[in-house]
Symmetry: C2
Subunit: 454 residues, 2 copies
């Protein structure tokens, strides 16, 4: 892959030189033979001046191919569209696959969306409008309306004729959907099946009628899981009346799986890991909100410890083990949280038995607590030659870990119940929270043994 | 989806009753009309006695379809194969797609693998052996050898004839690979292109010759990224001489993306989030190793604090803020770690500029440190009416956060350099480590101001 990389850098430089020299033919020849992903990489490396030239060298239709791949560079899209002639931009958007065009428009201001839609052919504008109404992260928001549908009472030959005709604009031709007169989905057939059967067979005889479809309002995460389970390349999307309204293709599902994973990972770390900026001020401004919120939660813990200051001044050894107990409980809570968040992400009802999950977490908290507590009892007892202190630390550890496991599993469940994304109940949040409970547990247990500790 | 679920439960019960009643015809009729994913779900819900009956009712070929989907239930595969007649198991494995058969065999003991391979047709055994030699997580380990290849000097018509013949056993027919006489990959063509062109056109005229391929030894994570970038449904795998040795299909790539995400998430939480057991002893035994390792790291921090016990007994107020400083630095370190791990997972060289990353992390650490430090300076100064104490906490916070950011970005980079998976430099590890550095920083700064604090 390395060699390809170097060669590609050279190609980019060459393309830029064609742009600057206004050598339209050479530019078009070399640019258009690239894969669209590579075209998009070239485009992203151009300066504004070079991009303006590129718009003159490429038709809206050609530019559309490049733009299909750009959706993830969200922040720049608005800038790119603005620098184009509005009619050129509208033409380009109307030439794109509608799901991608809708994704792109969704990043703009409402009046800008309206402007572009009004400059498009009505058919395309209407198709895109249908997709714009779906909320983020739903099946509807990632589906495309450019699929191929046929009727059951056709022969394979006539279906193949439709397929050949629609192939250039359909997003996939590998599945063909069978609908009835009311557009209700009644069957599905793969191109593989069309090819291996004889031309004069009827669609109704060979189509699959065990339909797996999703609703436009379903969560995209559930759609991704269904497609992974069934190894589909595309899945049909229906409305509440079971009418076919679109399809979702596997390339979009790969992006969903990646995005959801990044979002879970971000939640656990209390930071947006997709942050692309390297400007430290931008980076800091994105991380500070979480840090400051957690700082104030942490001040709560300090206030609590502050109540035990007299105890500490009498037995300063107690201060030595605060961070050990809060740290270990935090680690246990993070483990429990991560497992709970992943179980919640599963739409398999059997795995979503919350009562069982919480009981299992309390039980495993008790077991890990007993082992960890016994270990630290011995370690502290031997180290400080003080088994009373060892007992205090050991018991506090046992209780703190059990509570941390309970909190780690209960909080994401609670968040989901009240309608939040459980993944946002992040690692830093749970460690800061268990700091508070652990300190409370620790000093209360220490108070019981105070006469032996001083 | 709910309704389908309920209906499916009923179907499972019905199928079980056919098995018990030895009603082979009804069982076969209902079972074989299910999607293979559903077949696998039925299979997994059977008791041992029911499974033994199922083996008698279904041919090895039919059972192979069900088994294609089972790969993730790794622990049970050995048990299932053992309860089958060995010849039946070998026949079933030889009927599976070779990548799946190899995945399954890879979970068994070497002598068991040998036994099954010796019972298979030689052609299948040889094909599977080729895949078994690849290491886990490489392109070779997830590729299949069941692809369709043609020559450049064929017409579309003759290519379509090959395709129709090979369609039943090929894992995908949507891409056809063009090779020369030495099996070197020279082109690729999609079924879409084959269909829209005329029958008498030559493959050499319409094939794409900008080849994107991967090497059998490439990391599966890099393969996944390439397939996502290019929106491929399959990618060719070549050996060091550029000869075609297999293909990787998108269904396997979806699993790679999920598995890699789960593994990163697990690393950040210090727990295997794919743990399926609900037995608290099993759960605890998997979580304890990390907890105990971190516990001993934490004892290091306690030992350190222990050195400052005299300071604490003089100014017990110092103990109040230990957990605030270690907690906040831990949060900052976790943020920095998560961003670094994600950047390392990117195989785009431009994003892997480590020097720039570390400098950016130190700079953003300084900025977040200044803001957080100033906040806590004011909060503590006002709360405790003691701005000297506020200064100690504020300055310690600033330094501890900067060091935490440095450690969070440096440690995963170091781990990758020395050949470990950076994702394993987990969140709990970094928080426990920053506990240590923060305590050191805090007490050393406090020592400078000690005369004003007592």
């Amino acid at each position: 892959m390395k060699e390809v990389q170097v060669e590609f850098e050279e190609q980019i430089e060459q393309l830029k030189s064609y742009l600057i020299a206004e050598d339209i033919n050479s530019f078009r020849e070399k640019f258009l033979e690239l894969h669209v992903y590579e075209q998009s990489q070239v485009y992203l490396s151009l300066s504004k001046d070079e991009r303006l030239r590129a718009y003159n060298f490429l038709s809206p239709n050609e530019m559309a191919d490049t733009f299909e791949i750009l959706e993830e560079e969200e922040e720049s899209v608005e800038k790119y569209l603005e620098e184009m002639n509005p009619q050129y931009a509208a033409n380009m958007l109307s030439e794109m696959y509608r799901d991608n065009a809708a994704d792109m428009l969704n990043q703009l201001e409402p009046y800008t969306i309206k402007k572009y839609l009004s400059l498009m052919p009505k058919k395309d504008a209407d198709g895109i409008k249908k997709l714009l109404k779906y909320e983020d992260d739903t099946a509807g928001s990632i589906m495309t309306t450019e699929y191929i549908s046929i009727f059951a009472n056709q022969t394979i030959q006539s279906a193949m004729a439709i397929l050949k005709k629609k192939a250039p604009e359909a997003e996939t031709i590998y599945y063909v959907y069978v609908v009835d007169a009311t557009r209700k989905l009644v069957g599905v057939i793969s191109l593989r099946d069309l090819i291996v059967h004889e031309d004069d067979e009827m669609i109704s005889d060979i189509m699959g009628d065990r339909l797996i479809s999703v609703n436009g309002n379903d969560d995209q995460r559930d759609v991704a899981r269904t497609m992974q389970d069934y190894d589909f390349l595309a899945i049909p999307v229906v409305d509440d009346e079971e009418r076919l309204i679109g399809i979702i293709t596997v390339d979009d599902i790969m992006d969903v799986i990646s995005d959801e994973a990044a979002s879970d990972y971000s939640g656990l770390a209390g930071v947006d890991v997709e942050e692309r900026s390297e400007n430290p001020f931008v980076v800091a401004s994105k991380r500070l909100p979480w840090l400051i919120i957690l700082l104030f939660l942490g001040i709560g813990t300090s206030t609590l410890i502050s109540n035990y200051e007299e105890m500490i001044s009498k037995a300063s050894i107690l201060a030595v083990f605060i961070s050990l107990i809060t740290g270990t409980a935090g680690n246990a809570g993070t483990q429990s949280l991560a497992v709970a968040v992943r179980k919640l992400a599963d739409n398999d009802e059997n795995k979503r038995n919350f009562k069982k999950l919480i009981i299992s977490e309390i039980a495993s908290g008790l077991i890990t607590g007993v082992v960890t507590g016994a270990t630290i009892f011995l370690a502290v007892g031997i180290w400080k030659e003080n088994f009373v202190l060892g007992s205090v630390i050991g018991i506090a550890m046992l209780v703190a870990i059990t509570i941390a496991n309970l909190a780690g599993s209960f909080i994401p469940i609670l968040m989901e119940r009240i309608g939040f994304d459980p993944a946002v109940a992040s690692g830093p949040f749970i460690t800061t929270l268990t700091d508070l409970t652990s300190v409370l547990i620790y000093f209360n247990i220490a108070a019981l043994f105070m006469e032996y500790l001083v």
